[in-house]
């Protein structure tokens, strides 16, 4: 049933896309301009965006677009180097905590509203969920249009739960203590080597997203309002100790050296029961394992909270915004904003085909969004969440956090207290040098 519904929707979208006419921009009439667009690799998003680019260039024949994708873990370094040599692309997107240095150094251009569907900054803000554009608005000017805003919730494999003797609808974890208890019941090992995990964290490039909310739930802070680093020792120590207990030096329930949880989850090969991911993961599941998607064997539950949490903090959300190079020619900037605006105006298609969520009010209310499985879980968490920390040195702080948490987890690493001191010292240094 779901499949036919998706098929109909897709067909309708395709038909409407064919009928769609990209706007012909008067400012670009009769002019020739070559644009370069850099974005991170996403097998679902690329054909969609290339389609829109084709429509746009058909309506504006003077424009050619060079669309290049890069590995997610390299695009930041490559974009940075290119800009350092004043060779940056015209359009690019980065995660907000990586993009902020570009903004801070004046490397990205403010939105040219005449090229977009919005009148001005206020109009733009009003069309999106409150607070979701704040990271790209500075001194009354807006510098980016949202490509996606993501928050993580917990995906759960019902089959594995049942296999471990648990009832997924009753026994699903609501607290971090539950998560550990449930994982202990589900985990299977060959000696010390884990063959099936219950829950595993999402390591890799997003520590600000993963670990900080856990600390904030207990009342701790990354950076306090008066600029002090790493506040609330009890909170930090509790999370660090929990992480240590989770890893190979503790109860051996998971570690960053196994294959990434979210990738293994999709395969449904009895390898992991729970994984943190965003709504976009659903598109990945459909693509890589449609039977799993269509069976009812998975569900999404809200981001766990501590039993004695001081306040409810869902996962911090992070965003990708499309931004434009401030050094591009005026014509290129205009064409860039027009193109970006056109692509992003298809919020429902992005949701349908790539499962990424643009935080526009219209999308949140659309049928497409409401019909995506468990979108209400994501929406509920998102409404109570705040944006991930960003600032001039967010990338470095991100790396320091990753190092602190992962070093505690790995065998032979520092104790939680040592890691905490070290983290506080380095973050303070970083903030001081800003």
């Amino acid at each position: 049933m779901k499949r036919t519904l998706s098929a109909i929707l897709l067909a309708a979208l395709a038909a409407s896309a064919l009928a769609a006419q990209a706007p012909t921009i008067p400012a670009l009439k009769g002019k020739k301009v070559q644009l370069t667009l850099w974005t991170h690799e996403d097998a679902n998003r690329m054909p969609l965006e290339k389609g829109y680019i084709a429509e746009f260039t058909a309506a504006n024949p003077g424009v050619t677009v060079n669309y290049v994708t890069y590995p997610t873990d390299k695009i930041r370094d490559l974009t940075t180097t290119a800009f350092a040599a004043n060779q940056g692309p015209d359009i690019f997107n980065l995660q907000i905590s990586d993009a902020y240095p570009f903004m801070a150094n004046g490397r990205v251009a403010p939105i040219d509203f005449k090229m977009t569907a919005y009148k001005d900054v206020k109009d733009l803000e009003s069309k999106y969920l409150p607070g979701t554009l704040a990271p790209v608005i500075e001194k009354g000017k807006a510098y980016g249009l949202p490509l996606e805003l993501t928050n993580y919730c917990l995906y759960l494999n019902k089959k594995i739960f049942r296999d471990a003797g648990l009832d997924p609808d009753k026994d699903y974890p609501k607290t971090w203590e539950d998560v550990m208890a449930v994982s202990e019941k589900i985990v299977q090992r060959n000696g010390e080597i884990i063959t099936r995990r219950g829950f595993d964290f999402r390591y890799g490039v997003e520590p600000l997203i993963c670990w900080v909310p856990m600390v904030e739930q207990l009342g701790g802070e990354l950076i306090s309002k008066d600029g002090k680093a790493i506040v609330g020792d009890d909170a930090w120590l509790k999370v660090l100790t929990y992480v240590r207990d989770f890893g190979p030096a503790g109860k051996n329930l998971g570690s960053p050296t196994y294959t990434a949880a979210r990738k293994v989850f999709d395969l449904n090969k009895n390898e992991i029961a729970m994984s943190l991911s965003g709504l976009y993961q659903e598109a990945r599941i459909i693509k890589s394992n449609p039977e799993f998607y269509n069976s009812k064997d998975w569900m999404v539950i809200p981001y766990p909270q501590w039993k004695d949490a001081a306040k409810r903090v869902p996962n911090n959300f992070y965003g990708h915004y499309y931004v434009v190079n401030a050094q591009s020619s005026k014509l290129a900037q205009q064409a860039s904003w027009a193109l970006v605006n056109y692509m992003l105006s298809h919020g429902e298609a992005y949701l349908q085909k790539v499962a990424i969520v643009q935080p526009s009010k219209s999308l949140m209310e659309s049928k497409t969004f409401k019909e995506m499985p468990y979108s209400d879980v994501f929406a509920k968490d998102m409404s109570a969440a705040h944006v991930v920390y960003y600032g001039a040195s967010s990338t470095k702080i991100d790396a320091l956090l990753k190092e602190a948490f992962e070093s505690v987890m790995l065998a032979g690493g520092p104790s939680p207290k040592e890691a905490l001191e070290r983290l506080r010292k380095s973050v303070t240094e970083v903030l001081a040098s800003e």
């Binding site: 669309y67 290049v68 994708t69 180097t81 040599a85 004043n86 080597i193 990434a260």
Partner: protein, 291 residues
């Protein structure tokens, strides 16, 4: 005298036999350990992912999956861009090998056979460049490349790597052993220096050239960052970039990843096996003219 000669020989043959066997065992074990990961790659490339990390590991696949190779070549988006990447890598690596061999021969010859003032300074200076890690100079070189308008072109891949210090060193070592008398004779006959180089020297650097060619080819084949930095279109990317992208996309399919790795390694292995006779264990490379 004869008894002294006789008994050492007798002693030698039995202990020598034992030593010989032990030596062979050690060597065989070493070769096995060293080759094992390569065999693993070959085997795993034909397995479905569930078998690659199965415990205990079965060296022979229960289920053969040559489809891994088709998927590896076609890429996850089915656009066969991998083939273009392979072509790019081939063009870049071959060209850089050629220029490196040619230029290193020129420079090595100059350093080996000409006693000009400042020769040692030049040589030491070139050797010192071997100590500069690429990460250090990547950004300034990028700025230079941009200044020369080399982005997004094969020249951009090639020009920063036209030659290297190791090549100069190798050629100089080799040419030190070149018989100077032949050069003298040619000069007396009235040959110009460039002609001497072209006709006599360059034609006789076979072993050193082969060695340098393999090493340089493999180095360029392996170059990940620079091509990624310089290429501004998908079609210009090289093999390492493709591998990294493939691994990030379909991380869980270890079998296909090994197929990609295997495909990427074939050209280099092919070159290696064909040219190895120049390369291996030859006094040929270093001691030209010696026995």
């Amino acid at each position: 005298m004869s008894s002294i000669a006789a008994s050492p020989v007798a002693r030698r043959s039995s202990s020598a036999a034992i030593t010989s066997v032990l030596a062979w065992v050690a060597l065989a074990a070493a070769c096995l350990v060293v080759i094992m990961p390569l065999v693993f790659m070959a085997g795993a490339s034909l397995m479905p992912p569930s078998e690659v990390l199965s415990m205990p590991y079965r060296w022979i696949p229960k289920e053969w999956k040559p489809a891994n190779y088709a998927l590896a070549l076609a890429g996850n988006d089915g656009n066969w861009l991998f083939l273009r990447n392979i072509l790019n890598s081939l063009i870049v690596a071959s060209t850089v090998s050629a220029t490196t061999v040619g230029l290193s021969a020129l420079v090595g010859y100059g350093l080996a056979k000409f006693k000009f003032k400042g020769r040692n300074v030049v040589f030491m200076g070139i050797m010192a460049t071997m100590m500069i890690p690429f990460e250090t100079v990547m950004i300034p070189i990028y700025l230079i490349a941009v200044g020369m308008h080399l982005q997004d072109s094969y020249q951009g891949f090639i020009v920063p790597f036209l030659m290297n210090a190791f090549g100069v060193f190798l050629m100089r070592q080799y040419l030190l052993g070149f018989p100077t008398e032949m050069l003298e004779a040619a000069r007396i006959d009235g040959c110009s220096e460039p002609r001497i180089f072209r006709e006599m020297v360059f034609k006789n650097i076979g072993p050193a050239a082969a060695t340098l060619a393999i090493i340089t080819f493999r180095q360029q084949w392996d170059n990940l960052f620079w091509p990624l930095l310089i290429a501004r279109r998908e079609e210009m990317k090289t093999i390492p970039a493709y591998i990294v992208k493939f691994v990030a996309e379909k991380n869980s399919d270890e079998g296909t990843m090994m197929a990609v790795a295997a495909i990427a390694s074939i050209p280099v292995f092919f070159l290696f096996f064909t040219l190895s006779k120049y390369f291996i264990g030859g006094s040929a490379v270093y001691g030209a003219g010696k026995e």
